[in-house]
Each structure stands twice: as structure tokens, then as C-alpha cells.
């Protein structure tokens, strides 16, 4: 096992008493509790951790947290493996297994590395220009392109972890718990406001975690943080969410937060909640997301060991790790001097500071000088060497305009290079919120300007580079946010702050390169997607001058880091090429999520048995016990058929169908939609929503009705009964129940608000057993003594209330099968009891439960339609041959006018007809298409399709219904159903098979 050679003796805030072992690429290393994978690997001197996307260049660590663009690692094994994880965001635990990705056969020797040499052949967008010949070969080329692309690997099995969601509401949401965010939280929470503060790091403090040279109220920054955190923790209405990335900022102050619920999340045991997706509606958002450091743009700036300066400082001060023993600093600003000083304080040999500025003048500069750190003023690193890790950097003097190099080349040996190219406020969320941003020359970056939602930006996010001001902005924002959200405010005192003062930055972009005949030296802009300076130049040369074209042509900013370190450099370069202001170049759209977020978290618990509700009836337990097969109808689960032992579906359905016509069949019809309609205008209302006449329906009777959409197409059908004067009971199709009720409400409320009608859904109030067949009356009579069931007293389409099996029931004499039948409605809680009793008493009549399939056959035998089967939203009642149901006298009903449009009255529309295969054993596949003439091969012109098709035991042959062009004019004609292997001839008939087809 390797020792932690680069671990510093003193620095850092880890638990050194808790050593942990982990594996990277098969080798075991040691780290401490509190380490990230990145800090632990650095402690062991491991810089080479990955290969780049396109050129397979060796790559190491670049930054900390979400900013990391290079060190993407495959973490975990088996079903819980995860690709593309930033090493800087994985906390290590004992037994962690990680490996590098996108390399073969090994990280050190990767064959893909030849791409680096081929670089000249594969500039940005090369694939648009080639692989076109021979034409048929594209799929072959593509095969290899696909295999070369991609980064890590997906797991191979089901995710063992659990994901939760959480809705929340608060007065103030603070994003980022650096000094600005903490100050804001402190101020806001004191007002009694409901506050949530989230930070993607494990410890609150943000940039304070990396600084040792600042003091707040004479405390170290880390101690100040601890105090603030302790205060906040004591408050009931403050929710603190560390390890939580605010990922999306949507409209009307709706934000998503992805919380990683346990620090050692990669070590999963079964079903622990790994992530929680918070969806928060906020009155006032405060963005305190800080700033992201920018790389410098110079040749070979991507070698392992070249890192962001502030990141190195964080590795030293927070993790007690130095990324190198002989680091070199390359900067354009003062902040990197803090890194150099920190190194020195930890007895690390700083090789030199290379500063592009000509006259740096600040306290930090003087301190560096005092500490005798060599400073090369006005110099720049022009290239670097080293394969698996930087070995040296070549520096030269910059001309005063920064465009050329002068003087000698100096080669400085080093094992690490800290670069600092300036700072970009993390404006991602602000921009997502719809906020406008503006270019700031001093920072050479975009900063927030006008907000369009209730959001404030503070501290680094606002472009504020000093601590005192950040704290002040935080306190002010906290107060005003709390005030705006309706809480009283007591401004807390501004803390005293000591911090190093910084001077100006000099932006030299790009650092000029030296001509080199042999190898073209790559200058990287986007480390992850291997976008170089020459790619940007090429794109512009070819006319891809819009920043959006540039992005898409070169893929700059499209990697998993979404250009956190590259976008600003890229657009500055484009503005130079185009010779215009960066403001005019603009920036590409910021989109959620801020950092990649686990898909499982968005799915949450809405998977497996909770993916979609399964609705069942009161009688369902009986169906299950009877061994029914089920069918999904919308969300409902309905008994489809009840096979006996060794029975096929066909046998079972035949038996059920036969029973219903010879003895008694019983169907659970509870799923039908039911709507209670009351009010003096109820009849008028029905008259408007159905196509037929409703004004004169006497109490105690029912009528079948068809509803159309306003475009004249059939929408739903059902029977509606007049219970008593001004009181109706409507039924709808199972699938249409909810939408029909909504539709009716819409017409009532918005179009006819003056109609006095009340609608109430009673779908589940009633369980419905439909008994049908010649003996159904006898059976019912046994159980119901208070109704005269004789045909005369209770005729077809009649309705009676009475007692069935001791239960108060509503009985409808309606029929979907053409047989004598009764639909018995009882309150749902009695449904099972009723059903069981009917079966019990029905035994002697050989009662037979039948499912939806038999129901379909039974109604088809009589030529009754099913909405959704005979119709598909393009069928009118006339098409269905149901002219009889359209009132000719009513002035209006929904869909009336549409029926007389010129294309709707055409004679050649598809019309519903019966279809009998000439060969009486052929069952036409439902959905198959119909032609007049079979051609040897397609195309063939189709005249319609089979809408329903069954074997009808009662007709003793298969029957089918079809929609056929001018079908009614074709009675008796032969048409053909060309299937893949054979064609079936069939004759067009009437749809009422039972009464027309001889057995």
C-alpha cells in the first residue's frame, strides 16, 4: 500500500484517527475520513486519473467540487456503479472502489492516445466533413465512433438505492453557504422567517474553508462559520441542507435541490435513501453561489498536475494535502499569491510565481517577495512538459501588449502548476431564473444585472471579490428578503473583517504560443470536451460565429461540467476573433441542472408498484380468488375472463358468452363512470350534451345517449336514467369517466352558467353487478321481493329502487348484450356481498361470471359499438350508422353544426359495417386493413380496417366489425384482408350478427 506521501503534517481538517482504505484502478490506497477521492489520491501522489474525451490525453485533477472538469471517475461496482463522478465530490469510505474510465487497455497506456497524434486530422466538426464514402459505410464508421465516444459505463442491473422527493415552502432560500450566504441566513432567520440554506459541499463555509489569512470579528473564518452554523441549527424554522446542490431555478420561484442524504452514499446497503429531490417554492431567493476560478489559456495547459490555484489552496488548508512538492504558480492576479504563501507556510518549496502582470503591487506581492519566493513579473508559461504529470514549464517574457513573446526561454522544473486566470461569478442559477447579466470589464466576466423574479445576488455571485463586502451584502440581503416575504427585521451588526487587499488583474488571453515545427501544441479551452484554441479559430473561420454555433460546432461547454471553467474563456476568444465586445458575443443559455443530477431522484418513488395507481372495484377480491385474468382499462384493472383449469382463453370466453345467452351471466360493471345530475335544468342540459332528445324522459326510465365533441366526432356514450324529476344518473365509459365529467363541468361553468344543474361524480359510490340472460329475472326475483320485475311492470329501459339480498339497490333494466338483463347498483361497501349472494343463489341457474372479453363478444354479436374501438376520434354517429340517435329537431347540441360540414357529409366516408370472412374459420385480426383488390405486393390502397373481431359462439362463426369507405353502399360485396402470409376474403354485412346470421 502506498503511503500518503503528499499529506501535510499539520494542515487540514480531517479525522486523522480514522484511516480508510480504498481502491483505485485495482490498487489499494489510504486516506482519512473527511477526504474526497481527489484529496486522497493527491495525498498519494496520484495525479493521472483519466483520459480526455477525444484525444485521450492524460488528465489529472483540476479543481474542487462541482467545478472539476477532468477527474471523472467510475465509482462503485456492479449494480451500484456510477460513471462520470467527479473525484472531488466523492467522499471516501472504507472499501470504496473506483476506476478510471475511457481508456484501453490501461490508464497509463491508452491506445486511444493515438487520437492525440491524429489531432490534425480531427479538428472540431471533422465528422461532418467525412465518413460519407462509401455511402453504405456510415453505419460501420458510426459503430466505431460510438464505441470511442461516451465516458464511463452504466451499471448493469437494478439500482439498489432509494430516492425520495420532498416538497417545501419557505420565505427565504439561500443558495450557497459561504460567508455571504451564512450572513444572509443569520440575518433572515433572526426575523422569524422560514429559511432554507443549501450548499453543495459537505461543510458549510464555502471559500472560507480554504482561507487561513482572514478573520471575522477576530475569529478565524472557520471558527466564525462554526458559530454561525451552531446558531442556525438552534432555530426551528431554519432548514440546513449540506451536500445539497441547488440544481434548477424554474418559473415563479420554484427551485429544485438535490440532497445527498448520507455522506457515504456510495456504499449502499439495500434501500437506503441516497438522494432526496427537494422542490421548493420560495418567496425570496438569495443566490450566494460564489465564484469559479478560471484556467489560463496556454499551450499544454491540460497536463496532470496543472490545477486551479484556489483548489490547491483548498487541498492544503482543508484536506492537508499538497498536490506537489515543487509547485509553480502561474497567475494574472493577486489571489494566487495566497496559494503561494499558504504553500510556504506549510514548508512547500514554491518554485516560482509567474505573473503576467508587469507591475504587480500589493501586500500579497510584497509578502511573497519577503518570503523570497521567486516572482517572474511580466512572464508567462508558454508550454509544459510531462506525460503522466507535469515535469516542467517553459516561461518567457510577454510583450507589453501581451500578444507576443520576447527574450529567453526558461525551463522551470516543477511537479505541479497552480494557475489562476481570474474569477467568474456562478451566475448559472440567476440566469436560469430569467435574470439578465452584463459584462464587467474589471472582472472580464458576466455578472448579474436585472432580475425578473424575486431573487437577490450577493457576494461572489454578484461579482463582489472581498470578504467584508460579501458579508455586508449577505446581511442586507437577508434582511430585505425577510422583509419582502413579510417578516420583521432587526439588522444585525456588521462584523469586523481582516483580509488581504488585492490589486488588479491583467487579462492576457490566450498566452501566445511559440511556433513548434514538430508537434502542434494544443491550447485547451474546454478540458473535458478537448476543445482547443485552434478549434475556436477554425469554427469562426468557417462561419460558426454565433456563440451558439460555436458551442455546437466545437462542443465547448457541452461536457458534464457544462463549461464552468471554459465558457467565459471561449466567448472572450470569440470576441477577440470577431473584434467586438464580449457583451455582443453573448453567452450560451444556462439550463438546469447546475450540476448533473441522478435520474433516479427525479423518478423518486413513482416506480414499481407506485408507478401508476391501479384502481380496483369492491368485487375485486372475488375476481382474484376466482383466478380471473385481468385487463387494464385506463387505470382500472378489470376481470378479463375467468379460465377454468386447463381452459384456453378462447374456451373460457366461449363458455362465458354462451352462458350469458342461455342461462345467466354476471359481470362486474362497477368501473363505468357515474355522474349524479340534479337541478331544474338537468333535462335541458342533457339535451344539449347528447345528440338525441331528453326533455321528455319520464322518471323511472333510461335512455342511451351519444356525446360528440364540438367537431362532431363521437366522444363517449352511455345510458342516463331519470331517477325522479330533475334528478338523473348518467353512466359513461370506464375510460371516459373523468374526462366526461370535466367536459360537462366545463360547459356548465363556462358556456351555460345560467343552467341550474349540479354534477357529482358517484363512480365509486356504486358497485354494479350486471346480470344478463334469459334466467336473470328469476334469479333477481329470488333476492328482491319489493319490486315487480315483470316485463310489463318493469319494462326494458326501466329503472326501479328496491331491496336486493337485503341491500338497498338501484336496478336498471338496460342491456349491452341484447339479452334480458338487470344492472344492480348497491353502495360500494355492499358490492362484494351482493356479488357473492347473486352467485350463491344463481348456482342453480348455472350462473356464470363473465369478463370484459365476453362482454365485448356479446355486444358485437348485436352490433353495439364500443367507443374507442369502433371510434378513434375521427368517426361521426353517421359514420357509425347511428343517424337515428341524432335529433333533427333540436336547435342545438354539442357537435351539431360540425356534422353538416362539407367533408363530413360526403358519401365516401368510412362507415361501420359487419364483416364475415368467407371461410368461416378465419378470425380477422383486429386492426387489420381492408382492400378492394389484393396486389402481389404493397403498396395497396386501403379502404378501411377491422375494428372488432371475435369468434361468436352464438353465431357459431367468427364475426367482425369494420370501418370501410362507403361501407353501407357495399353490402354483400367481397373485400380482402391482406395479411403478411395470406389474404382473407370477407363479405360486407349488417352489424347485427345475432339476428341476421344463421347459426
Amino acid at each position: 500500500m502506498s503511503s500518503q506521501r503528499f499529506r501535510l503534517r499539520e494542515a487540514g481538517r480531517l479525522d486523522r484517527n480514522a484511516p480508510l482504505k480504498f481502491k483505485f484502478d485495482g490498487k489499494i490506497y489510504e486516506g482519512f475520513r473527511g477526504d474526497t477521492l481527489a484529496s486522497a489520491l493527491l495525498a498519494n501522489g496520484v495525479h493521472l486519473v483519466g483520459r480526455s474525451f477525444k484525444y485521450h490525453r492524460p488528465r489529472g485533477h483540476l479543481g474542487v467540487g462541482a467545478v472539476e472538469a477532468n477527474a471523472l471517475i467510475q465509482v462503485g461496482e456492479g449494480n451500484s456503479t456510477e460513471p462520470n463522478i467527479r473525484a472531488s465530490q466523492v467522499e471516501i469510505y472504507d472499501g470504496l472502489v473506483a476506476s478510471s474510465q475511457n481508456r484501453w487497455p490501461s490508464l497509463l497506456f491508452d491506445l486511444g492516445g493515438v487520437n492525440d497524434l491524429l489531432g490534425g486530422l480531427i479538428p472540431a466538426g471533422f465528422y461532418y466533413k467525412t465518413f460519407m464514402w462509401p455511402r453504405k459505410w456510415w453505419m460501420k464508421y458510426e459503430y466505431f465512433i460510438r464505441r470511442a465516444a461516451g465516458l464511463g459505463k452504466a451499471p448493469t442491473g437494478r439500482d439498489p438505492d432509494r430516492y425520495e422527493k420532498m416538497h417545501a415552502h419557505c420565505d427565504v432560500l439561500i443558495v450557497g453557504a459561504g460567508p455571504a450566504g451564512l450572513a444572509a441566513a443569520l440575518a433572515a432567520s433572526k426575523t422569524g422567517a422560514r429559511v432554507i440554506i443549501a450548499d453543495d459541499q459537505q461543510t458549510f463555509g464555502g471559500s472560507l474553508n480554504r482561507e487561513t489569512d482572514c478573520y471575522i470579528n477576530d475569529k478565524t473564518t472557520v471558527d466564525w462559520c462554526k458559530d454561525v452554523v451552531a446558531t442556525l441549527e438552534g432555530l426551528p424554522d431554519v432548514t440546513m441542507l449540506p451536500n445539497t446542490t441547488v440544481s434548477g431555478y424554474y418559473e415563479q420561484n420554484y427551485l429544485t435541490l438535490l440532497e445527498t442524504t448520507k455522506p457515504h452514499f456510495f456504499k449502499s446497503t439495500i434501500q437506503q435513501t441516497r438522494h432526496r429531490l427537494w422542490k421548493v417554492r420560495v418567496k425570496q431567493v438569495i443566490l450566494a453561489t460564489g465564484m469559479i476560478e478560471r484556467p489560463l489559456v496556454f499551450a499544454n495547459n491540460d497536463r496532470p498536475g496543472i490545477m486551479l490555484s484556489s483548489a490547491i489552496r483548498e487541498y492544503i488548508n482543508k484536506y492537508g494535502v499538497t498536490p506537489g512538492q515543487n509547485p509553480l504558480i502561474f497567475t494574472n492576479n493577486d489571489d494566487a499569491y495566497r496559494t503561494a504563501l499558504t504553500m510556504r507556510q506549510n514548508n512547500i518549496n514554491v518554485v516560482a510565481i509567474v505573473d503576467v502582470r508587469e507591475n504587480p503591487d500589493s501586500e500579497l506581492f510584497r509578502q511573497a517577495k519577503e518570503m523570497q519566493i521567486p516572482v517572474h513579473v511580466g512572464f508567462a508559461v508558454v508550454t509544459t512538459r510531462g506525460y503522466s504529470r507535469i515535469k516542467s514549464a517553459t516561461i518567457m517574457k510577454l510583450s507589453s501588449n501581451g500578444k507576443t513573446l520576447t527574450g529567453e526561454r526558461k525551463v522551470l522544473g516543477c511537479d505541479c502548476l497552480a494557475m489562476s486566470g481570474g474569477w467568474n461569478p456562478a451566475i448559472h442559477l440567476f440566469s436560469q431564473s430569467g435574470g439578465k447579466v452584463k459584462w464587467n470589464d474589471e472582472l472580464a466576466t458576466f455578472i448579474p444585472s436585472e432580475a425578473t423574479q424575486n431573487v437577490l445576488t450577493i457576494g461572489g455571485c454578484n461579482g463582489t471579490a472581498d470578504l467584508a463586502k460579501s458579508l455586508k451584502e449577505g446581511l442586507q440581503a437577508g434582511i430585505s428578503a425577510a422583509r419582502l416575504s413579510g417578516n420583521k427585521a432587526h439588522p444585525p451588526a456588521t462584523p469586523s473583517v481582516q483580509e488581504p487587499v488585492q490589486s488588479e488583474t491583467r487579462f492576457v488571453l490566450p498566452i501566445p504560443t511559440q511556433k513548434n515545427k514538430f508537434v502542434s501544441e494544443k491550447v485547451f479551452i474546454d478540458f473535458q470536451n478537448d476543445v482547443t484554441l485552434s478549434d475556436i479559430q477554425l469554427a469562426s473561420r468557417e462561419g460558426y460565429n454565433s456563440v451558439e454555433h460555436l458551442k455546437r460546432y466545437t462542443t465547448v461547454g457541452m461536457g458534464t461540467d457544462q463549461g464552468k471553467t471554459s465558457n467565459v474563456n471561449a466567448l472572450m476568444l470569440l470576441s477577440q476573433i470577431l473584434d467586438c465586445e464580449p457583451e455582443q458575443v453573448g453567452y450560451t443559455t444556462f439550463r438546469p441542472p447546475y450540476a448533473p443530477t441522478t435520474i433516479g431522484a427525479y423518478a423518486g418513488r413513482n416506480i414499481g408498484n407506485l408507478f401508476s395507481p391501479v384502481r380496483t372495484t369492491a368485487i375485486n377480491p372475488w375476481h382474484e380468488e376466482a383466478g380471473a385474468k385481468f385487463e387494464h382499462v385506463g387505470q382500472w384493472m378489470r376481470a378479463w375472463y375467468y379460465p377454468k383449469v386447463n381452459e384456453t382463453m378462447r374456451q373460457a370466453v366461449d363458455r362465458e358468452v354462451t352462458a350469458a345467452r342461455t342461462n345467466i351471466g354476471i359481470l362486474d360493471a362497477s368501473t363505468l363512470g357515474k355522474i349524479d345530475i340534479q337541478g331544474p335544468d338537468a333535462a335541458e342540459f342533457l339535451n344539449r350534451v347528447y345528440t338525441n332528445a331528453w326533455l321528455k324522459l319520464p322518471p323511472g326510465t333510461s335512455r342511451y345517449g351519444l356525446m360528440l365533441k364540438e367537431d362532431g366526432m363521437v366522444m363517449d356514450d352511455g345510458v342516463t336514467t331519470c331517477i325522479k324529476e330533475n334528478h338523473y344518473h348518467m353512466t359513461t365509459t370506464t375510460g371516459g369517466a373523468a374526462s366526461v365529467l370535466e367536459w360537462l363541468e366545463e360547459w356548465l361553468q363556462t358556456e351555460w352558467p345560467n343552467l341550474k344543474v349540479y354534477l357529482t361524480s358517484v363512480t365509486e359510490q356504486w358497485a354494479v353487478a350486471a346480470i344478463c340472460g334469459p334466467k336473470s329475472r328469476e334469479l333477481l326475483q329470488e333476492l328482491c321481493t319489493d319490486i315487480d320485475l315483470s316485463d310489463k311492470a318493469f319494462p326494458f329501459m326501466g329503472y326501479r329502487e328496491g331491496t336486493v339480498a337485503g341491500i338497498k339497490a338501484r336496478i336498471f333494466r338496460i342491456s349491452f348484450t341484447g339479452e334480458l338483463s338487470f344492472e344492480i347498483n348497491v353502495p360500494r361497501s355492499y358490492g362484494l356481498s351482493l356479488w357473492e349472494k347473486l352467485l350463491d343463489v344463481g348456482k342453480k341457474y348455472e350462473i356464470c361470471p363473465y369478463g370484459t372479453e365476453a362482454m365485448h363478444v356479446l355486444r358485437a354479436e348485436k352490433g353495439f359499438i364500443i367507443v374507442g374501438q369502433e371510434t378513434d376520434g375521427t368517426v361521426t354517429p353517421v359514420d357509425l350508422g347511428m343517424d337515428w340517435i341524432i335529433s333533427k329537431t333540436k336547435p342545438d347540441f354539442i357537435g351539431k353544426r360540425a356534422l353538416s360540414r362539407r367533408d363530413i357529409i360526403k358519401a365516401d366516408r368510412k362507415q361501420l359495417v359487419g364483416l364475415l370472412a368467407d371461410n368461416a374459420t378465419d378470425i380477422l385480426p383486429e386492426g387489420s386493413q381492408i382492400v378492394e383488390e389484393v396486389l402481389p405486393k404493397p403498396p395497396m390502397s386501403m379502404i378501411g380496417h377491422v375494428t372488432s373481431s371475435y369468434f361468436s359462439p352464438n353465431c357459431g362463426r367468427p364475426i367482425a366489425m369494420a370501418l370501410i369507405k362507403s361501407g353501407r353502399d357495399r353490402m354483400g360485396q367481397t373485400v380482402y384482408i391482406p395479411l403478411k402470409n395470406k389474404s382473407i376474403a370477407a363479405t360486407i354485412t349488417n352489424v347485427n350478427f345475432l339476428d341476421n346470421v344463421s347459426k
Partner: protein, 117 residues
């Protein structure tokens, strides 16, 4: 997720609502000599404004009431919520209403509006 204020239940997420499209479309009387063209205009033509749009929503998961909304379709900002049987009353609402090509057909009067409290 839009935050829509139901006039009865208060602010709720848009997932609870059913969108009803453009408001103030007057249903033509089919008994008059209504041409196919005019009928098609009623049935299909959309006021698909980029900017302020008067539209209908129904609080499906809540009180099941329909109401009208003035919304900016660019920013999704909601400027006014008003009863489905009335005209908008805000300045922008009135202007939007006046600008609408359908304004010639005035919204129907309802005999009375129910009020709570």
C-alpha cells in the same frame, strides 16, 4: 412549474390545473346561417399570442372551478385572475381584451354570480 392562483383555493402548482386555452370565445348559434368557414374559425382558429393572453384554467385537483387568467406567454407571469363569466378588469387585461380580434363577440351575461362570505 407555474404557480397559479385559483380564485378559491389560492396558489397551486400548474400540475393541479387543466388548461382550457383561449378565453372569451363565443360559441356561435348553429341555427343561424353559419358558414363552414365561420364555424371553422370558432372551432380551430387560435389566438396564440406571444405576450399577454387571456385564457381559461380549471382547478382540476382542487375545487374544480373554471376561471380566467391574464398571462404573459413569454415570461409566464400571471397578471390577473378573474371569473370565467366576466371581462378582465386590470389595465393590461382590458387592453388585451380590446386588442383581441374576437372582441366583437361580447362575453355572455350571467344572471348572477355566487359569492362566498
Amino acid at each position: 412549474m407555474l404557480h397559479i392562483e385559483c380564485p378559491w383555493c389560492g396558489f397551486r402548482d400548474d400540475a393541479e390545473f387543466h388548461y382550457g386555452g383561449e378565453a372569451h370565445i363565443t360559441r356561435p348559434d348553429p341555427s343561424t346561417t353559419l358558414t363552414d368557414e365561420k364555424f371553422s374559425e370558432y372551432l380551430f382558429s387560435k389566438t396564440n399570442t406571444k405576450g399577454l393572453l387571456l385564457e381559461r384554467w380549471c382547478h382540476r385537483s382542487g375545487c374544480r372551478r373554471w376561471f380566467n387568467v391574464l398571462r404573459n406567454t413569454i415570461t409566464n407571469e400571471i397578471l390577473e385572475v378573474y371569473p370565467v363569466t366576466e371581462k378582465p378588469s386590470s389595465k393590461q387585461g382590458k387592453e388585451t381584451y380590446e386588442r383581441n380580434w374576437r372582441r366583437k363577440s361580447p362575453p355572455k351575461k350571467t344572471p348572477k354570480t355566487d359569492e362566498v362570505k
